[in-house]
Symmetry: C2
Subunit: 402 residues, 2 copies
């Protein structure tokens, strides 16, 4: 498996575009389009928030047959909690039909931004000619157009082999705040030229999010508009994957790898974050226990603040394990922190051990921190991704709407 | 029911003391003692965190018979996650026995502060003479000695009538960070001269925390050392409350009132907080639904940041309702904000309505904000208490340990 350039345009038959149409302030790209040359098997997962953005409702309707050809997405407005939301989301799909000839039922739609402000079709309609003109090898523009408070563009692609054929997979994603594991989080659009049936594609997607997008949290706020879509147009020419087996496994491995890399990128670029926190839990009696513990630690505001301050306050790790809801034997827990500056053990058998505060400070002053937690004698493990809690998170969210 | 002065020393037969013994930096009081002249019916509730401070284990053992005579408490060290924790907590009780003659089994103990650093008995032993000398009408000193990051001392007392007799009830409390509803939170010590059996006292306590201490959250971090203790020494001379009835109801009303007032005080003094948030949910189909919704809203970091910025970002309220886990009909939700500057409606039928941003800013710039959420046609209601999320929360917790 090799990482390559090109983002969502790396796989055969996909083009993309991203422009500024005026939903956001002038000059900030806010409208993206991804188009597949051929109809693509498509699978999606959505937020479990009861309050769902109108685009999600429309995308679900358009995906009932398991196929699609295009995704249109905007930033700057979530089109959520508005009485005309469905109409607007449908309108965005119809605009794509009008300009491309792709039936609006084959168009998926996503929006991200402020909740509860009406979205006007006008800037989008006005922007359509430029959006269409931009269609090409422009994954970059599309990735930029879906960014909100993201400071880093999230885009990647990889290639691998299936049935002797080279298969490519690319993705763009946005996500920085309102990130909490519960189904796929954020907006993630994945394209691939692999040939795979819609049934197997949704299976692969469900598997891939388990250890990636469902294991990240920036702030425990599960968004109303989270959507992850995978489009597979079959143009790589491999034998259609329509059942489990080695080809399906290879496909899943690629999708999981891509998802994990994006998850880390999203956690690291959490609103205001200065550090990626990677919590690896091992020795759990089952997977669910490991997941509960790992998520609880990376979600603890007190622990997140301690990491911001590079303070080896492992008591807060134990505290978060204790209220995680997982059944664990506290007296068997060991904790260590590591980073490129080295590793330092801080807790054994549920209690403190002597360690060098100076060394701990060095370890915790790097920008990627691993928290290793061993729960005892069992076998199951899980990893969760988060970030520190900083002044800038408060600043960004104290006046996001205005 | 009248509020009076005197804190935990207001009821007959209680004395208190608070000194600086050297666990914390010189001059900061860190050791408190409350003593009842007579053996008191005693009830307590504790954190549900699986990681429990050693003082909780010892207090539970000493309370198996439902009676006690004294509480010793320290700040600056939680005596949690230490292999000698039980020994130290027992040692604190034995020191009280040594200096007062009260059997150590009748002494309860509580600690608050950093987790995972060994607590030495030495400063406590050295401080005992001064602690005993200080015993008197000194609720104030005891209240000060249990404060950690609290900026405001929490102490109050009230009087009411039971069986024709004037009964008094007083309390001190600490709590500012690591506050999340799950059983009583923080340290709260209540004294009363009411005569009530241990059985009825624990019933009253369980009732009183439901709508008060279990409905506050500062940061979703459930502490390892939360303890609320009520001591009732019977010196008011009322007929012993040993069953349900009007006297029990009066007692519960007083305890609930006191608990609610302290809960508001603790939420308002949340670490770094500039505003008390009071979320009142009505029209829920049952109490549990109302509680889930109210708690979810006051716990949302994004909403808490918006309140810090006085931004009427009601979309974040809807988002938090949506992921609360409660079954609600989103299309029936109405939201308004109010404060001493007036009231402003921002959402009806689950969608936005026009409102004056200028007025909203005025309403949200006060230091006590009420968020009213109506869920529709049902009857149940609940209120939760929280605070805004500010730069200072990050500052305080970025280097608490050092």
């Amino acid at each position: 498996m090799n990482y390559i350039n090109g983002g969502v345009c790396a796989p055969k038959g996909f083009t993309a575009s991203g422009i500024s149409c005026g939903i956001r302030k002038p000059g900030k790209k806010d409208l993206a389009l991804i188009v597949s040359q051929k109809t693509a098997s498509t699978a999606a997962v959505y937020t479990k928030n009861l309050v769902k953005g109108a685009p999600i409702i429309v995308t679900q309707q358009h995906l009932t047959n398991g196929y699609s050809r295009a995704i249109i997405a905007n930033s700057g407005n979530a089109n959520t909690c508005n009485d005309n939301g469905i109409e607007i989301a449908e309108g965005m799909c119809k605009l794509v039909e009008e300009y491309t000839g792709i039936p609006s039922e084959d168009v998926l739609v996503a929006s991200t931004g402020v909740i509860g402000q009406k979205l006007s079709l006008e800037p989008i309609a006005n922007g359509m000619p430029a959006l269409l003109m931009g269609l090409g090898n422009n994954s970059d523009d599309a990735a930029t157009a879906i960014m909100t408070t993201d400071t880093v563009k999230k885009e990647l692609a990889l290639e691998f082999t299936l049935d002797g054929k080279t298969v490519k997979m690319g993705a763009i994603a946005k996500g920085s705040g309102m990130i909490h594991p519960d189904m796929a989080t954020m907006l993630v659009f994945v394209t691939t030229d692999a040939d795979i049936s819609p049934d197997m594609l949704i299976q692969a997607l469900n598997l891939s999010v388990l250890d990636s997008f469902n294991m990240i949290s920036v702030d425990r706020d599960t968004s109303t508009n989270d959507t992850m879509i995978v489009m597979a147009n079959g143009m790589a020419g491999n034998k259609t994957i329509s059942e489990e087996g080695p080809d399906f496994d290879s496909f899943c491995a690629a999708l999981s790898d891509l998802s994990l890399t994006l998850s880390r990128a999203i956690a690291k670029d959490g609103e205001g974050a200065t550090k990626l926190l990677e919590c690896r839990v091992s020795g759990a009696k089952d997977k669910e226990t490991a997941r509960l513990v790992a998520k609880s630690v990376i979600c603890s505001p007190l622990f997140k603040c301690a990491m911001f301050g590079a303070d080896a306050n492992w008591g807060r790790v134990l505290c978060a394990i204790g209220y995680s809801g997982a059944e664990v034997d506290i007296t068997k827990i060991a904790v260590s922190f590591s980073s490129e500056a080295g590793e330092i053990k801080v807790c054994e058998n549920g209690g403190g051990i002597d360690f060098s505060e100076e060394k701990a400070k060095q370890v915790l002053s790097c920008d990627e921190i691993i928290i290793d937690i061993s729960l005892g004698d069992w076998q199951a493990f899980a990893t969760a991704f988060g970030c520190d809690l900083t002044y800038d998170y408060v600043k960004i969210n104290g006046d996001y709407r205005s």
